[in-house]
Symmetry: C2
Subunit: 349 residues, 2 copies
DNA sequence: GACCCGAGGGCAATCGTTTGCATAACCTCG
DNA sequence: CGAGGTTATGCAAACGATTGCCCTCGGGTC
């Protein structure tokens, strides 16, 4: 009664009050618990209701446009059927694509997702994670795991179900691409083209992506008997200015590298800009390889050779893994296979 | 009791059960209702509790790490403190940026947001909107309003509190940039540079953004005594291939336009590609103007002149407007001011 | 000294759903 | 035909927070 009054007072509330189990029960002439069981998605529970009764109730529910109230259900079961997702930035198309995959798979499994930006800052990561947990999400997908801070360990210790995506951390369930292999693919491509003096724009040290892509790349060159000197491997931010700054440094070295591997497409765009600024031609004078193969890569004036990673799929797998863990199944890390897309930035032309 | 059992069974549940009002009440030696009032954000309610008692309770809650259970609160109040957000695609940086603004402002007001992609498809828009409403969001921010379908009218009729963002629709509360003015800015820039024969890549007909930007542009040229012929205004998708296709058509016209206004930066990138493919130089032979000024615009090899729109701010204002409406205040449409960033794609060099 | 007033806080109902247990009807089999 | 089992349904108690109403107590007023 009080509530109805509140409703009426707030002029903008949704019009007709939502249908409840009780209303269906009344119309069907059965008890609300029967309706609840008939509408359950759990086969075992629904089995307790006569097939015919269940069918009638479901038809009636459909007709009345019944939608389960998540608040009631959450209160009783202690589960919200919501997953929290943390990403560095949603405006980064890589993470946005991964998130789309997460959300799609979660929706299929009957979960909604809530996403938050952390800007890759430990302080913000903690605050956002807490906010999501305050919302009582059932689990977390973390797209911003850092090797240099212990938020993940802490969450795991609190027994929060969680899955890492994009970046790995030892001992945690994660879904990533095989970044070591990806780096190797880039190296083999450049080796095949005859490059002998190369450099790496290696990304942030705290991100497994940059570290492992770099490692795979260096391994392959070392195995080919052409170890890349440390001076030719520089850390960087993951964005255009970051790549540009790193490349300006590398292009100043003598002898100048004939190709640069950037562990991220945006950094690679920065590298290309630096190459142009130095009066050189991308693909002719200097080869450039990126990573992720974002749509932009193919659309650039000089199209960018890039290691393609299945970003959307990664998100899907991460979400499915988490949902399985919530059902009590053990979580298992996955590394998806990257492939290389060769384009003008290394082939010339 | 049943619930505890369930908890224990699902091995992956968060460890210690969350603190409840009842626990605080017990420890503080007061009734749970007093705790509820002491912790209320509503000044009037909190006034009912002695200042000192309230302070003690708040301190204790803090110490125990109390976090209000949203399910319990939602069940009682009928409000979830969640906002639904619908966007065409989150991988579109324009919408992603707007969404970041929405989420930030919502968080400040104590709301969480849930976002969903609709791919600009009416069928999907409806399904996603229904899914969000099934989650009992308190209101919707729609970033994908189409003038050619009546979902918005329908939602409004059901008295769902809603605010449009980015795109407008007559008679609805919306927060957009002043797109007519934006188009006019682009036109005045080109007129000032001496362009007399121009063309427009106009975007989708169902989106107010494209329509109004085009209108402002055409108005300004008409007022200058240089009306743009209909043949020089072609609709397009909002992405790179869309802009490219439209531009290929326009560059085939004789006499060829000396400048092209694309109502969206991605379409503008497509235009630039088409110009290059035709063996012409952007900024020399053909001027190009985009819209939104996404970060990429300045980073392109030939930097793109673009009408900058305050995307993040738009999201913030939209969310704040919706929250105010939920508080019973009337909603009011806003049009934010765009500005023009002149760069090499029109200035040359 | 009787009365009123206001402040502070307790009581209990309520939101909608789920689920362990109780019950009733029916079936099967010896 | 009755004991034991199965099947279908009802009952009621939670889950946690909010809020209208009522009670108590202290102080002020006439």
């Amino acid at each position: 009664m009080e509530r109805q009054a509140t409703r009426a007072a707030a002029g903008t509330r949704a019009g007709s009050a939502p249908v409840t189990l009780a209303q269906i029960a009344r119309q069907a002439g059965v008890h609300v618990s029967t309706v609840s069981r008939a509408l359950s998605t759990d086969e075992a529970v629904r089995g307790g209701v006569a097939t015919e009764t269940a069918a009638q109730i479901r038809a009636l529910a459909e007709e009345l446009g019944y939608q389960r109230d998540p608040a009631g259900a959450a209160l009783r079961t202690g589960r919200s059927r919501m997953l929290g997702v943390l990403v560095p930035r949603l405006t980064d198309i890589v993470l946005a694509t991964i998130y789309e995959g997460i959300d799609a798979a979660a929706a299929t499994a009957g979960y909604h997702t809530v996403v938050a930006n952390t800007g890759d800052e430990p302080e913000l990561q903690r605050r956002r994670a807490d906010a999501l947990l305050a919302r009582r999400v059932d689990g977390l997908v973390l797209g911003d795991a850092r090797s240099d801070c212990d938020l993940v360990a802490e969450l795991a210790h609190r027994r929060i179900p969680l899955v890492l995506v994009s970046r790995r951390l030892p001992g945690r369930v994660s879904v990533t691409t095989d970044d070591v292999l990806g780096g190797r693919l880039a190296a083999e491509h450049l080796l095949g083209l005859g490059h002998r003096r190369v450099a790496v724009v290696a990304g942030e040290r705290y991100a497994s992506t940059g570290v492992e892509r770099t490692q795979g790349f260096l391994d392959a060159f070392a195995e080919a008997g052409l170890p890349v000197p440390e001076s030719h491997v520089v850390p960087s931010r993951f964005d255009v200015p970051g790549g540009r700054a790193a490349a300006e440094h590398l292009l100043g070295l003598t002898p100048r590298p004939t190709a640069v591997f950037a562990v991220n497409d945006f950094a690679a765009v920065g590298v290309m800009a630096a190459v142009r600024d130095a009066g050189l031609t991308v693909g002719q004078d200097v080869g450039v390889v990126g990573y992720n193969d974002v749509p932009l890569a193919a659309a650039l004036p000089v199209s960018l050779t890039s290691v393609r990673s299945p970003m959307y799929r990664m998100g899907e797998v991460a979400a499915t893994t988490l949902v399985n863990m919530l059902d009590g199944k053990p979580g298992r890390s996955r590394r998806l296979r990257p492939t290389l897309e060769a384009r003008a930035s290394t082939l010339g032309g």
